[in-house]
Symmetry: C2
Amino acid sequence: MKYPNKIKKLHHNETNYANRGMTLENDLNLTNNYYLENNIAIIYKKATPIQVVKINYNNKKHPLIKEAYFQTPSTTDYNGVYHGKYIDFEAKETKNKTSFPLTNIHKHQLNHIEKVIEHGGISFIIVRWTTLNETYLLKGETLISYINNKKQKSIPLTFFKKEGYIIKENYQPRLDYLKIIDLIYIGDSNEKNNTLSKK
Amino acid sequence: MKYPNKIKKLHHNETNYANRGMTLENDLNLTNNYYLENNIAIIYKKATPIQVVKINYNNKKHPLIKEAYFQTPSTTDYNGVYHGKYIDFEAKETKNKTSFPLTNIHKHQLNHIEKVIEHGGISFIIVRWTTLNETYLLKGETLISYINNKKQKSIPLTFFKKEGYIIKENYQPRLDYLKIIDLIYIGDSNEKNNTLSKK
């Protein structure tokens, strides 16, 4: 397998596949690599947008960026294609045990999720409760509706348990979130196409 | 309209909409902004991947990146969603007048285009011939087939004229490439779904 070195290393160093010190981002990278290598889907983490201010061109082939700043992403973390469908999601970790603070998701990210759904794409969030070691997928539609109706500043874990879908950890792929996408979007294609497609 | 300041400025400074000094990237950014504002599609330029080596955290809210390097992108420049379909493309300029050198597109980018098509996405390249001031869209399928069959190091302009689609410049949107996507993919959905969908 052609995992990038960094990921390969993390993978080899593990003694078991329980989530000991692996971040959600690492798990998703491993999962997306698995999807890519096994020709299941093409989903990448988007590069972090960086504003470059000063560049030193002494080495023309490898210019050195001397001054730069992180920019706030205007969209979500991951996107790609699965069975022709546009997939777009945000992944977050929380140390909390009972509720997920909505300050974790920016307003423009919520707008983006809403727009993606409006345009017939599949959009969701993946939230890992690190203390509990549980990871849930919550449909974008459910998230937006919760925010619009409940006017709360956080989403209780009980809501994730009731309205979301738990993603079990496996050896390969580590977090098989596309299995849930199959179940809730792709399998049920007639109904979902009607709900999701642009008016 | 809520164009970012930079784009607004470029837009206002123009005296006519002929392509005088506007780069293809600027034109595509204006076009994608138009699509976004008018609720037509959600297509973004991907951020340039940058490897960050040293960060100064003196200002905690705005950490300063002191050393970083540009990385080679492993995919294409733009992606997004249009009518539920995954859209993915690369944009290139050439000063040449008769042929487009294939060194402009990396091997891993070609692989990516091929994979996107295999997974039912819509993938293509947009090439601007800056000296001639002409811009063409070439389907990914056509590009891959040309490369596999012709074993040439460049694609002649005549091939673009015959097998590609010219994108006329307008006031708004500047480069209405989705009109061509409508024509060659979306409109003809039955035939194309058969050709494009994953086996």
